[in-house]
Amino acid sequence: MNPRYLPLTATIAIFLIAYAVCIAQYPNMLSTRVIGNLLTDNAFLGIAAVGMTFVILSGGIDLSIGAVIAFTGVLLAVLLQSTAIHPLAAFVLALAVTTAFGALMGAIIHHLEMPPFIVTLAGMFLARGMAFVLSIDSIPIKHPFYATLKSVYYKLPGGGRITLIGGLMLLVFAAGILIAHRTRFGANIYALGGGTATARLMGVPIGRTTVMIYALSGFLAGLSGIVFSLYTSAGYSLATVGVELDAIAAVVIGGTLLTGGSGFVAGTLVGILIQGLIQTYITFDGSLSSWWTKILIGLLLFAFILLQKGLILATDRRRRHA
């Protein structure tokens, strides 16, 4: 097998094994209900993680997404509370703001040659701060359109439901896979991750690609914020703290190399599902502390980083003997 597929295969295998273990213990977990909930509960994280996958593939990082999600939620809540604007218009506005925010960070990273870590860290504080400026309280959203959207779902045999937001996440993943592998923009993202200097000599438009990558990440963080506000029917400036780290964890568990240039969007989906599965297991168990989720994810991350290190060594060897 081509070694580049190995991390992805490992992730899928771990997911299947973990699911089998869960079912062996709690046969009830084998139901479309559980699967439907898994998608719904992790929809906002999954959507944001797609953006994070692109950023990491290009060799960067985006620490701002948790704050941007919270900001979007608060912005929507404030808009719907104090103006008569239709939620759809508010969505468009929120997406425009977050996309522009991401593009701005990308432009700073490229033109000022600043490390993405620093720029997006500043972006994180800025977005969180803006959320606080808008409101420090949790604002409920009571617009009837929200209720309509939440009642949309596709019924699976066995009683499970693919909700609007769960379905949206799957769509975003499908679009992400298409972008990564079937567009020139996608190829350029991988090229950036392989080395900026070389990519530039090969004629990759570095500046435009960098701006687009962070704009896309901003857009998806905004979309994730919309999904989160639908999910919780509220906007709160202290929400989704640390979600960027969960997203990074999902990307790495999904087999993407943290140094960029190698990985798959589909892997991130499996990474999200593994995290969700651990959480579901703990809920089913009832007696375990929810901190076990963190511990297990930590261990998984560690295992994956070791696996990747091993793979890099192995390919190096193969190349030298080729």
Binding site: L178, G186, Y190, M202
Partner: protein, 506 residues
């Protein structure tokens, strides 16, 4: 004089200033349709810089560029590509994390219904590489292939991109004779189609074999442009160096240090799947040459001697004492040194200064607990910058800003600074200009006089003959012949290599 527009590319008064160095000073360069134009000069003369100014990789600080008689000002390599200028840069490395096909078609992937058509792209990639006798899996990552294959892929990409102009910056540095011949066939074909080709190299035989005109740069200035046919080799070298070269490489060099008693003794040394077990004796002050085609096991031999690959059979002794060569660290402790072939990958640490790069191996041997004093480092760096004529504005310059050939000299200096007893040089003169070439060979000879044992791997047979007292010939990852004394001649080596069934594929 032809009217300006009969030139496919012409540049006048090109200036390029780097902080602390004027890399190009009012350089003129023009390229005719259907000509191969060699761009020559010492290491650091400004050849690569000129190329990068022409292709928009660098912003020039002055001058005009005309393509087909029209003013152009490429801001990026992409623009230059769109103007029909295809380039293989000196630091070729394509993107090793992409597949071969993606590397070939990056930025111009065939599309279907607005989406990249991977199947069509792979088909075209295979067709493209077939012209280069390269039948490889184009869907595999580039990293899976050897440097030589990667180089051919880079060339194929540039040729495919070049509607009008093809620029090749030292493309032959990691190719063997067979591949060079193939490249020249393709270049001649492009020439017939009316393309202009710029060719940079330090192999003067190749210049005379393929070029129509020659432009020489020195210290960032134009020395002149001549018809190749009217420029004898001796005059060309004088143009490049600004002086006569006292003695060009080749020919017999004095006595090849009488080999002293055997000092290093390897018996049945080998590693499965890597290099077959071999016996090797090296005397004090002796130079043993290693010859063979690419992929014949030359580099593998070096790696195993240096512990970069652990031997799984045989013994190594020094004056009867067993040597520990289980890792490079152990080998360095035994006073072994190894200057690798692929310096880009195994060699330089780009962001460190020239001084730090030179001191690196010596520091590693001493252990990090005993730092080399700054004064000592300065002294070492200055000594080697002078001895090897490393062109740099000062010793604190980050090494990545040096020209390719000068980086190479710095790596050589790193190993010489450790003052090893057993030094392995893999292609020590590759990419190094004629002047420095002679310096390095003189240096090799003086090292041997001091009693150092040397293993030199080289594809330049005249060079091997010039300084080796013995030459070992490799084939299919085994040591197959050993030439000694009067048998060490270029013809003798060629014969021994050719006795093989065929070319070992890399």
């Amino acid at each position: 004089m032809q009217p300006a527009s009969s030139y496919i590319l012409s540049a006048t008064g090109i200036d390029k200033i780097f902080p602390g160095a004027k890399a190009l000073n009012r350089v003129d360069f023009s390229l005719r349709r259907g000509e191969v134009h060699a761009l020559l000069g010492e290491n650091g003369a400004g050849k690569s810089t000129l190329v990068k100014c022409l292709t928009g990789a660098y912003r020039r600080d002055g001058g005009r560029i005309l393509v087909d008689g029209a003013d152009v000002d490429p801001q990026s390599t992409l623009e230059a590509q769109n103007l029909g200028i295809g380039t293989v840069y000196q630091e070729v490395n394509l993107l090793s994390n992409l597949t071969v096909a993606e590397n070939l078609f990056l930025g111009r992937q065939p599309k279907r219904f607005g989406l990249v058509d991977a199947r069509e792209m792979n088909r075209r990639a295979r067709a493209l590489l077939a012209e280069y006798d390269l039948d490889i899996d184009v869907t595999a990552e580039l990293a899976a292939y050897s440097v030589a294959v990667q180089q051919v892929v880079a060339i194929a990409r540039a040729v495919d991109l070049s509607g009008k102009v093809l620029i090749l910056d030292e493309p032959t540095a990691s190719l063997d004779t067979h591949e060079v011949a193939m490249l020249f066939r393709i270049v001649r074909r492009l020439k017939e189609r009316g393309l202009g080709i710029v060719f940079i190299t330090h192999f003067l035989e190749q210049v005379y074999a393929i070029s129509d005109r020659i432009t020489v740069l020195r210290n960032g200035q134009l020395v002149g442009t001549r018809e190749t046919a009217d420029l004898p080799r001796r005059d060309l070298i004088a143009m490049m160096l600004g002086r006569e070269l006292v003695q060009e490489v080749a020919g017999e060099h004095g006595a090849k240090g009488e080999a002293g008693p055997v000092r290093f003794r390897f018996r049945g040394f080998g590693r499965k799947g890597h290099i077959q077990p071999f016996d090797l004796d090296v005397g004090a002050g002796e130079v043993v040459g290693i010859a063979g085609l690419l992929g014949s096991g030359r580099t593998e031999t070096a790696e195993i001697l240096f512990g970069a690959e652990r031997a799984d059979s045989g013994t190594a002794e020094r004056d009867g004492r067993t040597l520990d060569l289980s890792s490079p660290r152990a080998a360095i402790r035994e006073k072994f040194g190894f200057c690798p072939e692929d310096r880009k990958v195994d060699g330089i640490v780009g962001d460190l200064s020239v001084r730090e790069n030179i001191a690196l191996a010596l520091q590693a041997r001493r252990g990090w607990a005993r730092p080399i004093s700054r004064g000592e480092q300065d002294r070492l760096a200055d000594h080697y910058i002078k001895a090897l004529d490393i062109r740099t504005s000062d010793r604190e310059k980050p090494i990545k800003l040096l020209s390719g050939g000068n980086q190479q000299k710095a790596i050589l200096a790193r190993w010489l600074a450790t003052n090893p007893d057993f030094l392995i040089l893999d292609e020590p003169t590759r990419g190094i200009d004629v002047g420095a070439h002679a310096e390095i060979i003189r240096l090799i000879e003086s090292l041997c006089e001091k009693g150092m044992s040397l293993i030199v791997i080289s594809s330049e047979l005249e060079e091997l003959v010039a300084y080796s007292s013995r030459v070992i010939v490799l084939r299919d990852r085994a040591h197959v012949a050993e030439l000694t004394g009067s048998a060490v001649t270029t013809d003798g080596i060629v014969e021994a290599i050719a006795a093989s069934a065929g070319r070992a594929d890399p």
